[in-house]
């Protein structure tokens, strides 16, 4: 499937955008691989993948309906 991904924090600097689109990703592992290939600088950042506003810590299947976001390390407060 084609995944539309929201970016935050320093990831937006790397991509030069708040949203990126990657093709042919069936699950979150494939998504991370595709993203890191497209933007090698992202591979060096320990980002979390969030699906529908929840952090995902194991490989998870994707579908067109889900909301995908990449979250670099938090620095609130």
């Amino acid at each position: 499937m084609r995944a539309k991904i929201s970016l935050f924090g320093q990831l937006t600097d790397i991509a030069g955008n708040n949203i990126i689109v990657v093709d042919d990703v069936a699950d979150t592992d494939a998504l991370a691989q595709a993203v890191n290939k497209l933007y090698p600088a992202m591979a060096g950042i320990k980002y979390i993948i969030a699906i529908d506003k929840k952090p995902v810590h194991t490989n998870t299947a994707l579908n067109e309906a889900v909301n995908i976001a990449l979250l670099p390390p938090f620095s609130g407060g």
Binding site: S6, F8, G9, Q10, D13, A50, K53, K54, A69, L71, P72, P73, F74, S75, G76, G77
Partner: protein, 147 residues
Amino acid sequence: MSEHRIKNIFVNGPIDASFIGDSIAKHRSKTEIGGHSIFLGQVRADIIEGKKVQAIDYTAFEEMANEQMHQIREAVFEKYDLTCMHIYHSLGKIAVGEICLFVFTSSAHRKAAIDACAETVERLKSTLPVWGKEILEDETYQWKVNK
């Protein structure tokens, strides 16, 4: 189930000291309270590679942060005997010396208020999708990293 609804913790710009004073004053009628614990985050003039921070520009994945905060709130209310909890986080450019985080817990007894406040601060720092961009004096910037 919980009585708490998901609240919006974000405010645009710094948190005024007078707003904090007003929040405290509102608890006067809650006469079951014996202790309040408050944590305030203030933007610090760190020196980064010889340049002074002049502000932090905060952004957030707001919907997710509010949901995460809701979960923290539920867990903390479950663990401690609290009367109330109020949380505010700034968005946008906050100058050094300004308040960007306001965590406020109240309880009949001091220990619950103090422990709940400290735990809430730690949990929100580690789990809320919020990012600070440190704006340096020469207008360059660096993404902040929480310790």
